[in-house]
Symmetry: C2
Subunit: 437 residues, 2 copies
């Protein structure tokens, strides 16, 4: 995922527009209906123009181009996986509405592709946007990101197991194309899952360096889904708990420890091919270039953790809190030496380490979350864990290995989901096109 150069940003917007105008000719009639409902007439003309989204939208891209990033939505892989982890997350899970058909699903993906490709360039969801259209209908765009730059927005779209088949059967004629590995995750020791923060037919991961930009994306994509899909649950996150490029410092989770030291980095293409991207030789063929996303909402019992003595905290993690160095010695990036007793048998770093798991690695992309507090006056806080892997078995193996993790005393897995992440869309097409070919 290349970062657009500053000079190329306006040109990129044009590309995004021209590309998206092809498959979907802007938003579908259903998408327009979602926007216009209540206003009576869907008389908007979108996506047809000269490729520039009017003064307002163009202006906001230019004004902030010096300081801000914009990432291409189109590419071999979807953005938001190896993209340098942004500061903020708004993750949303959707269920398709009852009595929707295959055309509804395809048009939804086309509409999401169109709107997402625009928003990732700092543009509004359509050329007329929040204020450029007919004043006698509801605006296409909700407007709270007017004046804000792209802020590194990436939008990553996934397909859950239930999209392929659920209790209503094969709603979209795709049951036979479900990847064999795309099934609900097995129950893990200590799971305490809330169905209201688990699963879903579709997911969207919106990451940006400005939370208002991420929220704007989810809100507008939800709105465009009107009549076809409904928000099932969503979660905001901040303070990324993983780094995906060597230039990023390792952030800290809410236990106060560095997290993601040994993550797969974006420039390690061999490791990505081995561990993250579905290969052309893998099944099914339409998933080539894609990945599998696992989301786990992990509540942290931080008040309890905060009362654990420092030496015990270090022992539980297997690293020292200050530097993040393995207890076997060296600095943060030193390889842990599991041949010594310095790292306990049930320390987190030992159980999770590739060397103890037949070399299994995953790409982590999690965020911290705080959702106010519970009735006991304790912060409702934790880690919104996100990982991308070539095969869900990688996560399952690691998570089973963690069943003896001494850290489990201080965490609860309260949400869970798995989604197939198709390859990136090419200009002129849409995310997931291969599934319907």
């Amino acid at each position: 995922m290349e970062e657009s150069s500053k000079d190329a940003m306006v040109a990129d917007s044009v590309t995004g527009e021209a590309a998206a105008a092809n498959p979907a000719a802007g938003l579908s009639r259903r998408g327009l209906l979602g926007l216009a409902i209540g206003g009576g007439v869907a008389s908007l003309a979108v996506g047809m123009g000269a490729g520039l989204a009017g003064g307002v939208a163009l202006g906001r891209t230019r004004a902030h181009a010096e300081a801000e990033h914009a990432y291409d939505f189109f590419g071999a892989h979807q953005a938001g996986i190896t993209t340098p982890v942004q500061e903020h997350l708004h993750f949303a899970s959707f269920d398709m509405m009852p009595r929707t058909d295959r055309d509804d699903l395809v048009s939804l993906l086309q509409d999401w592709t169109y709107a997402a490709s625009r928003m990732s360039q700092g543009l509004e969801v359509s050329a007329t946007g929040a204020v450029g259209g007919d004043a006698e209908v509801p605006p296409d765009d909700t407007g709270e990101a007017l004046g804000l730059p792209a802020a590194g927005l990436t939008i990553t779209i996934g397909f859950g197991p239930t999209l392929f088949e659920n209790e209503d059967g094969d709603r979209y004629g795709i049951a036979e194309r479900r990847p064999a590995a795309l099934v609900r995750l097995p129950a893990f020791l200590g799971d305490d899952l809330d169905p209201q923060t688990s699963h879903g037919d579709l997911c969207i991961q919106a990451c940006a360096d400005d939370p208002q930009v991420a929220v704007h994306a989810i809100r507008n994509l939800s709105r465009i889904a009107f009549g076809r899909a409904k928000l099932r649950w969503s979660q905001l996150g901040f303070g990324k708990t993983s780094r995906t490029t060597s230039g990023q410092a390792t952030p800290r989770n809410l236990f106060g420890f560095k997290d993601g030291t040994a993550n797969i980095l974006a420039d390690d293409s061999a490791a990505l091919d081995e561990n993250v991207w579905v290969a052309p030789s893998d099944e099914p063929a339409w998933m080539a270039g894609g990945s599998y996303l696992v989301a786990r909402k992990i509540a942290m019992l931080i008040e309890t953790w905060d009362r654990v003595r420092l030496s015990e905290q270090d022992a539980i993690i297997g690293r020292d809190k200050g530097e993040g160095a393995p207890l076997s010695g060296g600095d943060e990036f030193a390889a842990p030496d599991f041949g010594t007793s310095a790292i306990d048998a049930d320390a987190h770093v030992r159980l999770a380490h590739p060397s103890q798991n037949d070399g299994i690695r995953i790409l982590r992309r999690g965020f911290n979350y705080v959702n106010g507090n519970n009735d006991l006056g304790r912060l409702d806080a934790g880690l919104f864990f996100l990982s991308y892997q070539r095969d869900p078995a990688q996560f399952i193996t690691l998570q089973r290995r963690l069943s003896t993790d001494r850290m489990n005393e201080y965490i609860r897995h309260v949400g869970s989901g798995i989604w197939a992440i198709p390859a990136g869309a090419t200009p002129g097409s849409y995310v997931g096109v291969g599934l319907f070919a």
Copy 2:
């Protein structure tokens, strides 16, 4: 509230340390007990050193000094009122624990002053912090802000009506010193208040440009309060909806409109003295230099709003959505002309405008919020309204005037609170000292 110059930052840390060491000699024994409980021995030595908080804490301030702001905690007024509005908010309301006495309350305020003055300089809550103390006791600091700069953190502390007197009576011997105006706000038309997001004996407003820094502050101040006060409710916010300096662009709320165009600005000292700061001649004397904070959690029915046609949205607000210009003409900063019919009688801008309210002005400092979604798949989103005023009557008058606001159809006030904000602390003292003099 002066922004510390980069060169002065380290010196400021020293000042903060030396100052705080005076009244509280670091954290009180109760504060230490809160940190150490479960670890057995409160053997920490804090706040006594040479004034430098060890390599880790000092290093993080220096490393980021170029790019980051640090505001003085001490001053004539508390920071976080006229300070340029930061990007993120963590607001927390606390209740005192049963059977606490006046000494508990005073020591809590001393401990909060000590820790807040340190954190606002990018330091940990004590000199030994997360990793510099005895490894056989729980760390003083929870550690998730290690390596992060001050990020413009301000911490603002307030006293609710129930602190002075509640159903248990005059717990702290301060009932007679309650400002006459500090009473629970009257019920307003359309109020739908949830007690779980309303009121509280004490409040802390933590604002920072990094949400992890704001969360770290509330988490650690809650922890320090152990045995004395308990978190009642808390709310995160982002995307500030007001500007407090002329250099800040006017942000947008989740209705997509610019908000705070006509706010009182930090350099308008005449307006601040008239409308925000309690004057020495006001009653009671201990509130001189302070202010009154009103918080209102205002849920926005954004899906409904999004289906309103643009012309109607503009009419409801009385400004145009694109530029924020009054419908009577001119640009964003033009004075609205209420002599014309261009601005409806029930438009928000008309009802809220000082010229329609005997010149009443308040200093707004609100943030957008999104707390996931409800069971209907609608985002639980809105405005966390914060305003500072010299007298609560200013807010009450304005809010009553808004009873005919056409915008009310799209909002619900679901949380409410009022707190007296004492003057800033001077080095060597603590926030609220005047109340106990």
